[in-house]
Every structure is written in structure tokens, then in C-alpha cells.
Point group: C2
Chain length 303, copies 2
Amino acid sequence: MKCRKCKALAAVALPSHNTAFCAECYPDFFRSQVERSIHRHKMIAPQERVLVAVSGGKDSLALIMQLQELGHDVHGLHVDLDIPDSSPEARRVCETFCESLNVPLTVVELRREGLSIPLVKSKIKRPICSVCGKLKRYYFNKFAIENNFSVLATGHNLDDEVSRLFANTVRWDSAYLSDQGPLLPATAGFASKIKPLYRLTEFEIANFCFLRGIEHVTAPCPYSAKASFPIYKGLWSDLETRMSGAKVQFYENFLRDGRPVFAAWADRKESALVACSSCGYPTSAETCGVCRIKNMVGQEQEA
Amino acid sequence: MKCRKCKALAAVALPSHNTAFCAECYPDFFRSQVERSIHRHKMIAPQERVLVAVSGGKDSLALIMQLQELGHDVHGLHVDLDIPDSSPEARRVCETFCESLNVPLTVVELRREGLSIPLVKSKIKRPICSVCGKLKRYYFNKFAIENNFSVLATGHNLDDEVSRLFANTVRWDSAYLSDQGPLLPATAGFASKIKPLYRLTEFEIANFCFLRGIEHVTAPCPYSAKASFPIYKGLWSDLETRMSGAKVQFYENFLRDGRPVFAAWADRKESALVACSSCGYPTSAETCGVCRIKNMVGQEQEA
């Protein structure tokens, strides 16, 4: 196979795009995919500062590098989860990488918030992955709002998005289906959330990291559960093998034809958000989920 | 494993129901599933005559036998497609089986309508499976209406329904998603359509046929296309193996939480049906799909 662009011997075959690229031209394909997503969904306004959530994994590091190369004003934010044998290495990778790019990085330490993940895990009976996700989203948004970032970028890829969409479709979760997508516009108390890598697969991002020499964390989180996500990822991977383009079609068709139906439905029954009685952040209950977790972990008693 | 009912050695394991049955008790399980579906969706009113579409395959023969055993007043309808090496055997199987049950059977011959499937296939460029399906649905409904059957039962099983739902979900086809289900109520010009086997898998129906000694057609239609359906069926079969109950949950969740959302959406943009200018049947165009096919096959010229 030959490179679509320069006709040299191809290094990366992309059946879902019905094409292939050599090692030199592949990053151009990658950049154009990211540019196209940003442009089509109007993710970033001119001169807008972008806060990028970085975990140390391939997706977030590829994202911050690509956004910087596209000329955006990026700032990294890493949440240190305080998980032994995992968090120190993830933090080191983020710090080293951002320093090499000359990108400012802020680290939020959950330990300092009284929310070290091992402690939370020991106190809270719910699956730790969903609690950890909630905490990260809260602190990403809190930092963005408090530091005047109007847009928060995360490294979610096509496989993440398709698995999540499929999981919520199997449940026909209309609340989820009404507002998910590569751009969640800013609302009172929330920065806009963007996913510039949403059209790129894990394979395509791993290739970018390999070709650009990005050192990233590869070990899975030691707490990661036996979730249904890996099963769904495997299923869509099999389907993609047999029907090239299945993933991106499912997701793009959802954005075009599925989401508007659920959004119209949700409009009828929207519940207003109020300020959390404890921390002031927007919530649909009296106390927000993170303050409830803090209470459960025993912060209130210690205070 | 032991039979859930009589504790004898089990002959059929049903992981999705977390149970197993012996050969003698299995038909009781089967009957209760069919009864439950009919009851829950109010498919058949007391004393209502039921027209059952029979193809000669396992599903439709199991259906007509089970409905008769449940005390319903059933009448079989077979559409002879006139496909060489296939239709004569299917027709013979239906005739022999209905005779053995002492159930009346009517055969509609597409050849007499000028719509022999090999002729249609040679004249029409669209995929023959979708054209053939349209013709069968038309003649099933026509016979029902003209002979005062208010309800038409088909042998669609859980695998059919899940594959079709999934195919339409991948496309986010809101027209399809707004009104599909095990019961389509009667409307002007249309009998109600019911699928009493919708909670039973192909495996469960094949078991019923084996245990009850039902001779049925097993050869696939010689014209059946390389459709995406078999791929989707395989995918859901894999998923079911890893997550017992996945199929029935996807489908039942759709009926409860997905369909109402699409139905509300469809209500906004419903297009009125009018009588076909040629045959008088309800259609959204001036001439119905079957009359258009007839025209294409050349009936008009011969008339």
C-alpha cells in the first residue's frame, strides 16, 4: 500500500477511511481530523484559552500537543488521584511532557481535598470508577471556572464515545442521549466541554504517539473495574472489522438524527439547576454529588 | 443441571433466564413466554380470529401450533413466492403441517398476481429481499382486511427483532424507532400486527420445534442477500454469551424508554395516509409501493 499523500510506502493503513499514510504524512492526517472536528462543531473561538485535562495517557498527551501545534493557547490540568504505584508515575509523565512542550501545567491533589481515591474507595460503596470520574469532572470544571477558562478539552476518542453511546443506547437512557456529543456548550457554572479527538480511534491516537515519540502511561488504573465498557469496545471493534466505518457512522448518525429527538424530549421535562448549599456549584439536588461524597468520606466530622 | 419445574435432568439450559428445563417441561416454559407476551401487550381480544402468516420455517409453524394450543381461533396464510427449488417445498410443509393441526390454510400465489419473485427480481433493481418483504406484508394485510381478520400474527423472534432494532438504531432511523414493537395497533386499512414470539430466541424456538417434532424448512432462501442482519445477529449472539439477558433487555428497554421518545417526535411530523389511486390501499404516496412494483414489472402494459 502506498501513502495517499506522497505515494511512498505506507506505514499506517486506515480501512475506515479507505486510505493509508507513511510515517511522515500520518501526522498531517491526524491534524486535519482534529482541525475538522474543532471547526465543524465550533469548539474553540479565536484567542480562546483552552484548559486541557491531562491524565498521562496517550489520548490527553496527543491532544495537548496537537492543540498547541494548531496554535491554540493551552494550559494543562492534572488531577493527582493519590493511588499508590500509579498516580506518581502519571503525574511525572504529565509534568515532563508539558515541560518539554513549554505548556503550563497545574496539578490538583485530591489528597489535599480530603478525597484521596484509596480513602474514598474505602468509605464509599458505589463503584469507584464512577465516583472518581465525578470527582475529576468537578475539579476540572471548578478550576476552569475559577481561572476564567471558558473551554475544557478532554482526550475522549472514538472508541470511548462509541462504547459510552452504545452502553447508554442499550439502556435507552434518554437523559444521557439528549445532550452527549463532542461539544457541550457552556452553561451557568459550567465551562464548555470539548472532545477534539472524538473522530479518532485508539489505534489512530496510539499511532500518532508512537510516530511523534510521546512517552505516556500504558498501565491500566489498578482500580479499574470489570466494567461493561471493554466488552462493548470489543464488540464495536469486531463490527468495525466487518463493516469499515461502522463506529464513526453510528456516532455521527446519532449526532445528526438521534440526539435532536432526545433533546426535544428532554426540553419538556428539564429540571432547573440550583447552587449547591455547601460549595455553591450548580446541582439538581440541594447538595452536589461531590459535597455528598465529601460528607460520606467524613470531612464534615473532621471540620 | 436440573429442570426448574420437576427437578429431573435438564435437557435445555437457558442462561438468559438463569434456568433450565427437561424435555417434558420445556414446552410449558415456551407456552408461558408466549402467553405472557400476548397478555402484556393485549395482542388478542377474547374470541378474536387470528390470521397467522406461515412461511414453512420454524418460527411461524411453532407460532401457529402454540396459538392453537392456547385456544385461539387461528387461520394460516401462506404466500407462495414461486421461487424454483424453494417455494414448492415451503408450501408443501405449510399445507402438511396445517392439515395435521386441522387448521385452515389459505395460499396466495404471487404468480397469479403477476408478481412471481424471479420475475420481479429480473425487472426491479432494488434488493429483492426488501421488495419481497413489502409484497408479503401487502398480501398478508390485504387478505386480513378482506376477510375480516382484525389481527395478523407473524413469527418474528427475539433475534430478528433485536437485529432489526439494532440496524435501525445504528442509523438512528426515527421513523422506524417511533412505531416498532411486538404490537402495532390496527389503523384505517391495516389489521393490527402482533409478534407473540418476540421474547423467544431462535435457539428457544428451534428447541420447541425439535421437542414437539415439527417438520420445518431449514434451507435459507436462495435469493437471500448478503445483508448486514447476519453480522448483527452474530454480534448480539456474542454479546448475549458474555452478558446474559442483553438481547431482551435492549429490546424491552427500547419499548419502555426509547420508543416513547421517538413516538413523541413522530407525532409532530406525521404525514397523513391516503388511498392508493390504483388499488385503494392506504399509502403515503399517490400510488402504493406494491402498485408501483406492479407497474415496473409491466402489468400495466399487459392489461
